[in-house]
């Protein structure tokens, strides 16, 4: 299964996870794992998701999540998992 990592970084505010999850649900993207921390008032979240079911083009998801981030006032990145795997796992 090809997995994707979504990261959200920004000032903590109400409803960040809700908005991201709503977008993912609408596009048939299944959440496998969520972890989050707050460092010095900054919200730091990572989701591992499965994009195999979605009919959307990966590049469009990247752009739309980025736009959603701008709307909420946080930075949302959506990257294929391999970049992290290759860098941190032998």
């Amino acid at each position: 299964m090809k997995r994707t990592i979504i990261t959200v970084v920004g000032k903590d505010t109400v409803g960040i996870i809700a908005k991201v999850c709503t977008y993912l649900a609408k596009n048939d993207i299944n959440i496998l794992d969520i972890s989050q921390t707050i460092v010095q008032g900054y919200f730091n979240m990572m989701m591992i998701v499965d994009t195999n079911q979605t009919s959307r083009h990966f590049g469009d998801i990247v752009d739309e999540l980025s736009a959603l981030g701008e709307e909420i006032g946080v930075i949302i990145k959506c990257q294929k998992e391999e970049i992290f795997d290759t860098m941190h796992r032998i």
Partner: protein, 454 residues
């Protein structure tokens, strides 16, 4: 499973420390385009490159978007044109027409440079090699994206001093032809000793005759990442220092390997090599000189610089070789002056001279790179500087290169602006004592004794 800290570390490298893949370079063989009719030759070259590279830029952008890693340049390298044009070209203008074809197709497929307007004359020059070399000033002044390189020597063959002499004149002539743009033509012209066949970096990229029909080579970068990692181990001993560089180089190279494999798969072109170079840009924080400062020097060029650079280069390779199945190209730290803000600062502060740069090239890739010198420098002096650098490469069995820019109409103390990735540079003083009698001898320097290994 990947954790949040590892993800944050990678993204911090990309966003704050300028981690990027510097170039995906598509090597294309033009050997099957050879024709004695110049028009047919140009036509075949155009179509071969266009068909091979039409999806290169789009594919590079897709990979960049999906993995969230910038891929700064998409480029093409081709078989040395002296080999391809020999049968069809009777004049320098004939050869320059091939350069214009390369430039046209580079614009149309959207790559920012195309390399391979080259000749390999490490032992001798054919008439076609000589004609191509003589056409370089015309070719580079009438094109925008074409890069030219000439291999003047090797450990196996010695140094072709006739060609070294000729290139001194050609570099000056190229400067003269492009003097309206601060002699920019010379920024696209490099001479080599021991030039590699699979180098993805410009201006020296060409697709060697030992290569497949098409190949993907990737050049990684990341001086900013190394510098940041080293800033966390200030004051620690050399063992800790070296270990930190190695680990960082491993991570940087793995990203290059991933991008290379993806590009290879999507373009259906075999993967060649990853070039493990620390390639700086003029952006602050993306500088090899700043790494040297982080290692403990006030400026690049201070005593200790050669040792610091030697260990940096070696550790980058040690970390990188494990990260990629095939390593090649130039692989090491680049020390261009104009493309590295820390080097520029060192020159302005008076810490770094041409002679110190020459010493530094003994222990790193690649050579005297992007160095602006006074426009009234004699051709024989330029040839002398080239000969010194070629000798370092020949004797040490390594690649060395020279990319000097004699800026016509400007002298020491003035600055020249090239723009973009090429940056800007203060004009450096050159030792002007004559070497004319040495350069004018003619012939070649024999291969060194350690070349006889058979």
């Amino acid at each position: 499973m990947i954790n949040i800290f590892e993800v944050a570390e990678t993204n911090q490298m990309i966003e704050k420390e300028n981690l990027d893949v510097r170039t995906i370079t598509l090597g294309i063989s033009l050997l099957d385009c050879i024709d004695s009719d110049l028009n047919k030759l140009n036509d075949k070259i155009y179509h071969k490159i266009y068909d091979a590279a039409k999806d290169l830029v789009k594919t590079g952008e897709e990979i960049s978007r999906e993995f969230g890693i910038p891929i700064v340049n998409k480029r093409i390298s081709v078989t040395p044109i002296a080999l391809i044009g020999g049968a069809a070209c009777q004049t320098t203008e004939d050869f320059a027409s091939i350069a214009r074809t390369l430039d046209k197709v580079a614009h149309e497929v959207g790559v920012n440079f195309i390399g391979g307007y080259s000749a390999q004359v490490s032992k001798g020059m054919t008439p076609a090699d000589r004609l191509l070399i003589e056409s370089i000033p015309l070719a580079l002044s009438t094109t925008e994206r074409v890069c030219s390189s000439v291999n003047l020597g090797s450990t196996k063959t010695g140094i072709n001093m006739d060609a070294v002499k000729l290139m001194g004149e050609i570099i000056l002539q190229t400067a003269e032809y492009t003097k309206e743009d601060d002699s920019l033509g010379c920024a696209k012209l490099v001479v080599f000793c021991n030039a590699p066949d699979d180098n993805p970096f410009m201006a020296g990229a060409f697709h060697g005759v030992t290569e497949e029909d098409k190949i993907i080579n990737v050049g990684v970068s990341g001086p900013g990442v190394v510098k940041t990692a080293l800033s966390k181990v200030r004051g620690e001993n050399f063992e800790v220092l070296c270990e930190t560089i190695k680990k960082t180089a491993f991570k940087v190279t793995r990203v290059g390997q991933l991008v290379a494999q993806e590009a290879s798969k999507r373009l259906n072109v075999p993967f060649g090599i990853v070039d493990l170079s620390l390639a700086p840009t003029p952006a602050v924080g993306d500088s090899v000189a700043e790494i040297l400062c982080e290692i403990g020097l006030e400026y690049a060029g201070a005593p200790g610089t050669t040792a610091a650079l030697a260990l940096l280069n070696d550790q980058v390779k040690k970390g990188g070789v494990m990260a990629s199945s095939y390593v090649g190209g130039l692989s090491g730290a680049f020390i261009p002056v104009s493309e590295d803000q820390g080097m520029i600062d060192a020159v302005i502060a008076g810490a770094l001279s041409l002679e110190k740069l020459e010493a530094m090239t003994c222990v790193c890739s690649v050579g005297l790179d992007m160095i602006a010198i006074p426009g009234d420098t004699k051709a024989t002096t330029i040839s002398g500087i080239i000969a010194d650098e070629m000798a370092i490469g020949m004797i040490n069995q390594k690649t060395t290169a020279v990319r000097l820019i004699p800026v016509i109409g400007k002298g020491v103390g003035e600055t020249v602006e090239f723009g973009g990735l090429l940056g800007y540079a203060p004009i450096m003083p050159v030792n002007n004592f004559s070497c004319a009698d040495f350069i004018n001898r003619g012939g070649r320097i024999p291969a060194p004794i350690h070349s006889f290994k058979n």
